[in-house]
Amino acid sequence: MGDHNQPFLSVSGDPECAPVHDDSVVDDALHRPQGSSKSKLLLAVFSGIFVVCLILAGGYDKSGVIKIHQLEGGDEMGVGPIEMPAGSATTRPSLSRGKSAGVSEKANLSPQQLLGGGEGSGDGLSEDFPWNNSMLSWQRTAFHFQPEKNWMNDPNGPLFYKGWYHFFYQYNPNAAVWGDIVWGHAVSRDLIHWLHLPLAMVADQWYDVQGVWTGSATILPDGKVMMLYTGSTNESVQVQNLAYPADHDDPLLLDWVKHPGNPVLVPPPGIHHKDFRDPTTAWQTSEGKWRITIGSKVNKTGIALIYDTDDFVNFELKDGFLHGVPGTGMWECVDFYPVAVAGGDGLDTSANGAGVRHVVKASLDDDRHDYYAIGTYDEEAGKWYPDNPAIDVGIGIRYDYGIFYASKTFFDQSKQRRILWGWIGEWDSEAADVRKGWASLQGMPRTVVLDTKTGSNLLQWPVEESESLRLRSKEFKNVVAKPGAVVPIKLEAATQLDIVAELELDKEAVDRVVESDEEFKCSSSSSKGAAHRGALGPFGLLVLSEETLSEQTPVYFYVVKGKNATLRTYFCADQSRSSLANDVNKQIYGSSVPVLKGEKFRVRMLVDHSIIESFAQGGRSVITSRVYPTKAIYGAARLFLFNNATEAGVTASIKVWQMNSAFIRPFPNL
């Protein structure tokens, strides 16, 4: 792989027809004795022209050589299916405009998925959606981390240090789209109330002048901080660099020093210089060395490379890889950490031994989703094996079935918990982002523990400090929603909410309904999202909805009674009618979720303007959504309970808190 210049066949420099016999044929004809018929002369001349034209047709190139061998390009060529961007010249104008398809964190959209827009959108086709400043400014969140303006992406180097939580992030100081990337910085006492600090690192060295990219922090036993990060060099080579605080006594870690010997790692042989990025937090080996992993790929196999070091300056590449999975493509933002089998507290990144499983996580460049798998770490061999290869990294479980990428955990030693940060991108158009002057959020930080009830997945939950944002609450006990019902949940306001709901299906109906062989997927193309009615679902909440439901965002459960009366449950979010605008994501997405015997259907949702985070069954399945209503904003937003099942009634108990702003702002008096 790589852009090796492969020379063409030898260039003779002679731009003329190569074959030699043309002229002699013509000469022959011209010198033919006069006695032959004129027609034979004509035939010969035209044959000559014919042959000449054949040669011209046959791939004659500028270098004068007939191209017999076509050489393969240096880079591998994509082999995936052609993705037709919706709204491309070949598919408009008869389809709903919708967003011009599949981008990074933005979803791939097919023409069918663009339909929607609800009543009142007119034909939705013939004009730009008239975004006004009121609608756009409503989209900013009240209690999710975001800089004051411009573009943000990956979380970087999170850590707790001398009483402060530190958060760094990929930031563009110049625009509301990706580019010119440097490290932003903010601190907080409680992971909620963030204070912006000056940029921590900028692109001022040859080894990071094209971008100060993602990295991770390691806290040494003596308290010193080592920050490894990827730099894109002046020649766009991806290298790893070391930085550390200029003053370890400064709790705000304002200033950072780049190690004079940078880069400390360059792409090893066999690894492409554009497939080598995002070093992890280091963990200790039993030999007392520090070990890190860096994601990459070999052909289409995503891999995690392993390096050992004593000093974060000199590294030894270990043989083989920590792990790799064929067909998954480039592994970005690899994460590797231990979890306790018994659940409970989080573990230091170096923890190992009995009662410990290890998680490997990768962000897949190919589909822009974060996947993890649980398995066994063999420290001596430097290898990790998944408990269940059928759901290995990249082909199994995702942290989040909505928009959530480049995530990274850290061990919070002050409260003994493992905390997960994730980049939440935008699902509107780049033009709208430029107009509103910003793009992207961070998810609410989540604790991560092993699900002791299933043993085969993690549980994620908003950090408990999120509850400090709760203001007044209202409780709605035993609200009944018959089949087809939409029940208003009356609130003073509905754009900044913490919702905890427990729902039950009518037991008699569940027992009564016949078994179905329905193959359900939240995202199936024939599915009408929450409008698709089954015997036992969908049922859930309509958030950020307008009084007449012209705009609504259903988040819901869908239950199927399968063979032997086993119930399967799915947890979905439906954006097809979340906005009358036609240049936003309108997809329906989600996954199955284990619901154990005796469990009710439980969901917690954080609603914060244009972001909704939904946690089902205590965090067994999580969906993050970005929505951009035009009417269901400010005082016009509503919350409803709905039940679109045909056979079963639903009873729900719901508690809703109004959520305060986190007042995220620049650090005062700096």
Binding site: S39, D61, K62, P85, G179
Partner: protein, 178 residues
């Protein structure tokens, strides 16, 4: 051999020759390498892709898809630049179209100042997905400009179509870098 039969034969030869000549290489004589054809097959507009890439001197010499992607991005930039200039001119000469033209100016401004630089930086740096963002965004913005002409005929249809189509091709080429 009779003369009329021979005349038919030669006429046939001429026709076939002309047909072969016309159906062969593009008019400028540059050749689509297998890298170009293989890459362009995975885009929504094969012909536009091939003609754009072969028209650029870097195209037939390109050793990898990254170079092809940068060529398409440059082509989008060129077409968007002329479209923007036309919009500015029309704002003076066609004041009755001020509303949609102003929107178009905004959209093309985003293409030129945000989305194309994003695509260039991302493709050069090897983080292709942001390059895809930039190209898809550019296509979307050209479409939005065109859609802004509701009851009146758009004076920019051809240009919008070209920018939109080229940017869609660009996104598909960049996708192959991931």
């Amino acid at each position: 051999m009779t003369t009329p039969k021979l005349a038919n034969l030669t006429a046939a030869f001429i026709s076939i020759s002309i047909f072969l000549f016309l159906s062969s290489s593009p008019a400028d004589g540059a050749t689509a390498t297998s890298l170009i054809t293989g890459t362009c097959k995975q885009t929504p507009d094969f012909n536009l892709c091939v003609s754009t890439l072969t028209a650029d001197p870097r195209g037939p010499k390109a050793a990898g898809v990254q170079t092809l992607a940068l060529i398409i991005i440059d082509a989008v930039k060129a077409k968007a630049t002329t479209a923007y200039a036309d919009i500015k001119r029309l704002l003076k000469t066609a004041p009755e179209l001020e509303g949609p033209l102003k929107s178009c100016a905004q959209q093309y401004n985003v293409i030129l100042t945000a989305e194309i630089p994003e695509a260039e930086e991302a493709v050069s740096g090897g983080v292709a997905k942001f390059g895809e963002d930039g190209m898809r965004g550019s296509a979307s913005d050209a479409d939005l400009c065109e859609d802004g002409f509701v009851k009146v005929k758009s004076p920019l249809t051809v240009e919008n179509k070209v920018v939109s189509g080229l940017a869609a091709v660009g996104a598909a080429v960049i996708r192959q870098l991931e």
